[in-house]
């Protein structure tokens, strides 16, 4: 059980990194990785939303969806959108400073497909609440790790004389590709054999 949790965490974070292995959350990955500080904050916000989503999904899976499996997708998307809204409101009330820091990114998270994928794949793997939480933290952590690494690299590349034809998305894709290659080294980590 315990080693299973470790595996879920490591697998979601490193081996099957949502961004670098499943191509999830690429919009924020490329859109928000220009500055390290913003990237880090967005990553934290995403972890937070993922954790809440995971809890909600566990609840939905336990009590509602067995009766109406066909509403799965639509209920997930509603849950995510309202979670984000809710989180936004709560943060605004409790900590205006944090809201100012995160505010603009929160709505963006709604369209982050990583969250929806988290919900779907947690359902598919039939994770318990605890496993779901570990999965969410791992996935969010992996997303943040990829985002922060990417942001650091992009800030570095900005100081280089990158040829005009490569600048922009093409280069970002190639950097992401090499990062993804490097992450392949984690394959099989803690798979327990």
């Amino acid at each position: 059980m315990n080693s299973n949790l470790v595996w879920i965490f490591i697998s979601a974070m490193l081996v099957n990194n949502f961004t670098l292995y499943y191509f999830l959350g690429l919009c924020p990955f490329f859109g928000v990785s220009g500055r390290l500080k913003t990237a880090f904050r967005l990553g934290l916000a995403t972890i937070f939303v993922m954790v809440i989503t995971s809890l909600c999904v566990s609840f939905l899976n336990a009590f509602i969806l067995p009766y109406a499996p066909y509403l799965r997708l639509i209920s997930f998307i509603v849950v995510i959108a309202s979670t984000v809204q809710f989180v936004e409101m709560v943060i605004k009330k409790l900590s205006p400073a944090l809201f100012r820091a995160l505010g603009i990114f929160l709505p963006l998270i709604t369209t982050n497909c990583a969250i929806l994928y988290l919900a779907i794949s947690q359902t598919k793997a039939d994770y318990s609440v605890i496993e779901g939480l570990v999965f969410a933290v791992g996935a969010g952590g992996g997303f943040t790790l990829a985002l922060v690494l990417m942001a650091g690299l992009r800030e570095e590349v900005e100081l280089s004389n990158v040829p005009a034809m490569v600048k922009g998305t093409a280069l970002n894709m190639i950097i992401a590709g090499i990062l993804s290659l490097a992450f392949m080294g984690f394959a099989g980590l803690f798979s327990g054999t």
Binding site: L20, Y21, Y22, F23, L24, G25, L26, C27, F30, Y70, L73, I74, I77, A81, T110, T111, N112, C113, L116, Y117, I120, S121, K124, A164, M165, V166, K167, G168, T169, A170, L171, N172, M173, I174, A176, G177, I178, S180, L181, M184
Partner: protein, 216 residues
């Protein structure tokens, strides 16, 4: 608004999506499914078709209902509409071609959060007539599918030595496995975008050269 748009306009709205405003190569939208499912041409086609179904359907509906939907809840309504179409597409694919559905996995469901679709509703369908909206949606969908196919075909040819499952180079071809792996997706799209960048730069160079010659 009531006068039907002229055919030329319709064509223009359709054609822009394929090349000039290609959602993938130019606008860089919808990256997630773009990369995740393009390890073979057949997956790319299926994904393109599913996306097209959702995009055209929701564009049609959104444009039709655009005057009824209050501004404040428009996004939520769009999402509901899109999610509906996606769920329908999901079920249909699962029933019709289970093998493809298995390959695409969760990525069919993820069409919901494809920013291309929501973006078209927000930027175009909600502001234009049904015909224009559909023309635009078809164009964008075609452009998206075209991009998917380009990437899917290249990755399949290099990564498996086949196209649509047909072996191209015989038994002894050494496949570049990386191409069907995630890094290959990033790198191949990077290389394709690099090619587009090359075309763009060449165009700019030519234009400046022409203007320089005109000036001198």
């Amino acid at each position: 608004m009531n006068t039907p748009p002229d055919p030329g306009r319709l064509y223009r709205e359709f054609a822009k999506g394929i090349w000039k405003e290609n959602p993938v190569f130019v606008q860089v939208l919808g990256m997630c499914p773009m990369l995740a499912v393009t390890n073979s041409a057949i997956n790319a086609v299926a994904m393109g078709a599913a996306t097209a179904f959702v995009l055209i359907g929701s564009s049609f509906l959104v444009s039709l209902l655009r005057s009824f939907i209050p501004k404040q809840v428009r996004i939520s309504t769009y999402i509901i509409i899109i999610a509906t179409f996606v769920t329908v597409a999901d079920f249909t694919l699962k029933a019709a071609v289970p093998s493809v559905h298995k390959e695409l996995g969760a990525f069919i469901a993820l069409i919901v959060v494809n920013c291309l679709i929501l973006g078209r509703q927000e930027a175009f369908a909600s502001r234009n007539s049904v015909r224009l909206a559909v023309a635009d949606a078809i164009g964008m969908a075609a452009g998206f599918a075209f991009a998917l196919l380009c990437l899917g075909a290249t990755r399949e040819i290099l990564g498996s030595g086949s196209l649509f499952g047909h072996l191209l180079f015989g038994e002894h071809f050494e496949p570049w496995v990386i191409m069907v792996l995630p890094p290959g997706g990033f790198i191949m799209l990077g290389v394709i975008l690099l090619f587009f960048g090359f075309l763009r730069e060449r165009k700019i160079r030519r234009r400046t050269r022409v203007s320089e010659e005109a000036a001198s």
